[in-house]
Symmetry: C2
Subunit: 157 residues, 2 copies
DNA sequence: TTACGTGCAAAGGCTTTGCAGTCGG
DNA sequence: CCGACTGCAAAGCCTTTGCACGTAA
């Protein structure tokens, strides 16, 4: 979750990223950047498209995919694949890399982070002479909300 | 990586799984089970299809997908999605749950496991009142082999 | 015998690509 | 002005589904 200022700063960085490569700064690109970078969750392309429509902006699906890809390449956005058959995107925060709790009931995603985790991964990579770039950690299960919605005592798949 | 005996035992378990549900034990299902359960890597459907062809067996793509799904449901096989646009499958070993080192250069996957990791995840889930079922851990980067193949000192994307 | 499996081909869901028209710098 | 973008539609890729025929038990 970015503050309003952080979010604006990231839009600005994206704008600079485009200018540095002499790429046109178009209305569509900026609108998509603003919408995605102001998101406090992990929207899919579909969700993003809907948010843009809610803002009264229509952006072609192809442009949307292309712009989100540019945002990922510019380093302002992270792409995730939680194995749902589509990707989700998330603004990059200034905080450290984090992991996800994924609820298989409601599909909700909660974040958590842990310094020890990162250290452990770097060590493990070293042990295998593996050059560490990034990690992906997900814990799958059922979130607190869905658990309490279930009848007490009725567990299992 | 399963031993030959373990692999055979798992085929046997799959056969029993089918019989228990009065599902026909067909030539295709057994061949697919044998081939996947004898695999020492994380084959995709496409790779699996090729391995079957190399054994001189043709299995329809639909049957292949359906059988692999049955193997996953029977608990003999794990499905992975490394964000490549397709799934990979892996025979379930008797060893503890493990994580993956994924090389972005050659696509190779190495396994590792760590008890502390599992304990840490259970604790983290607890902290969020999240019901822990399973986790997924991947470290992405470049494997030892690809690193040594690169010119020494020539790093970067 | 009979329910379920099998294989082909068609359809589906997400994403990418081709191309004519448009616009930023 | 020119190169890159945009939007639509078509194509691509992996996976699932529909259906006529075949087969395990």
């Amino acid at each position: 979750m970015l503050t309003r200022d952080e979010s604006n700063a990231r839009v600005e960085r994206f704008r600079r990223y485009l200018k540095d490569r002499r790429l046109p700064v178009t209305r569509q690109r900026i609108t998509v950047a603003e919408t995605l970078l102001a998101s406090e969750d992990h929207p899919s392309i579909e969700v993003l498209r809907r948010r843009l429509l809610d803002r009264g902006v229509h952006v072609g699906l192809a442009t949307l995919y292309r712009t989100v890809e540019a945002l990922v390449e510019s380093g302002q956005v992270l792409a995730h694949d939680f194995g749902e058959g589509f990707k989700r995107y998330e603004p990059v925060g200034d905080r450290r890399e984090h992991a996800h709790l994924v609820c298989r009931r409601c599909g909700g995603v909660t974040e958590f982070s842990n310094d020890r985790l990162e250290r452990m991964f770097r060590m493990t990579a070293d042990e295998h002479q593996f050059y560490y770039e990034r990690h992906r950690v997900e814990i799958h299960g059922i979130c607190a909300e869905c658990r309490s919605r279930d009848l007490p005592g009725a567990g299992g798949r």
